[in-house]
């Protein structure tokens, strides 16, 4: 039987505010345990939550960016359950009236473009962290993260493969960074994913029973976890069993998901409107003001890159996938006008490879946009060849200074003196008489190919510095 997989993602994105969603404590990662948990975050008796206006603005930004409906009136509700790192015994979230609903976003996977529905995006507070190491027989609770603002973005179950799920996740990741509402830092837990996965026979319209895989914290793990889960469910059904609705955890070491053994009875969260927080009410003017302040979004930027710089769809798509890359590109093109295509090629080529090798983000790389532009200008004006440029780039990466410094210090300036090149051409002709004979015996249409050998010889003699165009011209002239 042919199976179709049905995937929906819930992304928990931590918002990059200064203070927490309901308190004036700092929203910052990495402080000593419980030093950034104030009375409100700790749920001490009598204290009250007051919502952070910036959190509302960020949610509206996101909603506008995904063409969603923005609720003029949204309501914070309490989700009641007991957990040691949930201080109040309830999480303040949004339930019936979320601030964002019915949005959509385009994804590209394997060359096809699909639109994925976003059911809703609601605001909520994060819980604290439980530390199981270091306290034999006990668990330590750190509530610094309690009350950190989250926006939970829930997709429609419209993703059909692990690849699509990752493409969607990357698209949202890129978007929240563009909007500057989250740092998207996955190591620090600022961008977490729960995946709802089910399978059904191809052609079936009803949904199969789903498993929820909790808290997957990298793109790669999302792909692995979903693929594992799809295979598991198919094997399970084909062996004559039924999938049970449950929560599962992904174990990256074993590359498998496993059931979370919890108490038998289903959770009953007893949601109700939080009486401490009256509804959040915003008007059309507010929404329009936020809309006017929206930065250029990836799709708009991609179209502009194609039009303004004459880049291909592929190149511009690559560049805008991350805001840092797009910014780097534009900074470089500003310094090196007219060099858009080479800049794009270098970002995708040499620079990309170097960043990958050292596992760095583009803004942390050792060759800045200014430096790359400086290098490409020297190719453009004929000072160095493309090959020498790679050598210069490597030196820049090692911290040897600007392209001009390196070219100067290492004497890499291209040789354009016809006399000097002529001398090397003559040497090459003299040293390779057999090849010269072969060249001269060949019909003209084959000569173009054979000349490459002599170009190589001359370039070698010049240690790459001879202007290849001049070498070619002189060889053609003197070999005849």
């Amino acid at each position: 039987m042919q199976w179709e997989s049905v995937i929906g993602l819930e992304l928990h994105v931590q918002l990059a505010t200064r203070s927490k969603i309901f308190s004036g404590a700092a929203n910052r990662f990495g402080a000593r345990a419980n030093t950034q948990a104030c009375a409100v975050d700790l749920g001490l008796p009598g204290v009250l939550p007051v919502a952070n206006e910036e959190v509302i603005r960020m949610a509206v930004k996101f909603g506008l960016a995904v063409d969603a409906n923005i609720a003029k009136r949204s309501v914070f509700a309490r989700k009641n359950y007991f957990y040691p790192d949930l201080p109040k015994g309830y999480q303040i979230s949004q339930y019936e009236l979320p601030i964002v609903s019915a949005g959509r976003i385009q994804i590209r996977d394997n060359g096809t473009v699909r639109e994925i529905g976003i059911t809703r995006a609601h605001l909520e507070e994060d819980a604290g962290k439980s530390v199981h190491e270091g306290f034999p027989g006990f668990t330590g609770i750190d509530l610094n993260r309690a009350g950190a603002p989250l926006i939970e973005i829930v997709s429609e179950p419209e993703l059909r493969s692990a690849g699509e799920a990752v493409a969607y996740m990357k698209k949202i990741h890129s978007l929240v960074r563009y909007l500057e509402i989250s740092d998207g830092n996955m190591q620090e837990g600022s961008f977490r994913c729960d995946a709802n996965v089910s399978v059904r026979p191809e052609g079936e319209t009803r949904l199969g029973t789903r498993a929820e895989i909790k808290n997957i914290n990298s793109f790669r793990f999302v792909e692995q976890a979903i693929n594992y889960e799809i295979s598991r469910q198919i094997e399970h059904i084909e062996a004559g069993n039924e999938v049970v609705q449950e929560t599962r955890l992904f174990d990256p070491d074993k590359n498998e998901t496993r059931s979370m053994r919890t108490k038998e009875e289903a959770n009953d969260y007893r949601y109700f409107p939080d009486p401490d927080l009256p509804p959040v009410v915003i008007d059309e003017d507010y929404i329009e003001t936020v809309r006017e302040q929206l930065p250029e979004l990836p799709e708009q930027k991609r179209r502009r890159f194609m039009e303004a710089y004459g880049l291909s769809e592929y190149d511009s798509g690559y560049l805008v996938a991350s805001k840092d890359t797009a910014d780097y590109f534009e900074a470089a093109v500003t310094v090196a006008p007219g060099q858009a295509k080479p800049v794009a090629n270098w970002i995708m080529g040499e620079l990309g490879a170097a960043l990958n090798r050292d596992n760095l983000g583009i803004s942390a790389g050792k060759v800045s946009a200014d430096m790359l532009a400086g290098l490409l200008m020297r190719i453009a004006d004929g000072t160095i060849s493309n090959n020498i440029a790679k050598q210069v780039f490597e030196a820049m990466w090692q911290g040897a200074g600007s392209a001009d410094d390196i070219i100067e210090k290492q004497g890499l300036k291209q040789v354009t003196d016809t006399g000097e090149i002529g001398r090397l051409v003559d040497e090459a002709i003299a040293e390779n008489s057999a090849q010269v004979q072969q060249y001269r015996d060949s019909p003209p249409e084959k000569r173009a190919k054979l000349i490459g050998y002599f170009v190589g010889q001359v370039m070698k003699k010049s240690r790459g510095k001879a202007n290849p165009k001049q070498v070619n011209e002189l060889l053609t002239e003197r070999l005849t």
Binding site: T17, R18, S19, S23, G24, A25, A26, R32, A33, N34, T35, Q36, A37, C38, A39, L42, L44, V50, A51, N52, E53, E54, V55, I56, V75, F76, F82, P84, G89, S130, V131, H132, G134, F135, G137, F138, T139, G140, I141, D142, L143, M260, E265, D268, R270, P273, P275, L277, P278, P279, V280, V281
Partner: protein, 95 residues
């Protein structure tokens, strides 16, 4: 409709309360009495009435995004039952 023992136990579990077996009968009766009182509400048709969560129907007051709180861990942990190295300590549990 009085609740049975299992329902009482389930509510107690949701509320994280332990109810001794001998106390179950008392809770069953009290809750039955309270629910009978509450049943009076069903005498009015309210389908056309919107629920009211806050008496004044005001909008929420929002707070500027400013850090106002300083570290008061020592003061807060002075009143804590058990802490170590700045952590609140509970029996080990598995997530």
């Amino acid at each position: 409709m009085p609740l049975d023992k299992k329902e009482i136990e389930n509510i107690a579990w949701l509320a994280r309360l332990t109810i001794a077996d001998r106390a179950i009968a008392g809770y069953t009766k009290d809750l039955a009495d309270i629910l009978a009182l509450v049943e009076q509400m069903q005498s009015v048709d309210t389908t056309a009435i919107e629920p009211l969560a806050h008496p004044l129907e005001i909008d929420t007051q929002l707070r500027p995004d400013e850090v106002k709180e300083e570290d008061q861990r020592d003061s807060f942990q002075n009143i804590a039952p058990l802490t170590e190295d700045g952590y609140y300590i509970v029996p080990k549990f598995i997530e």
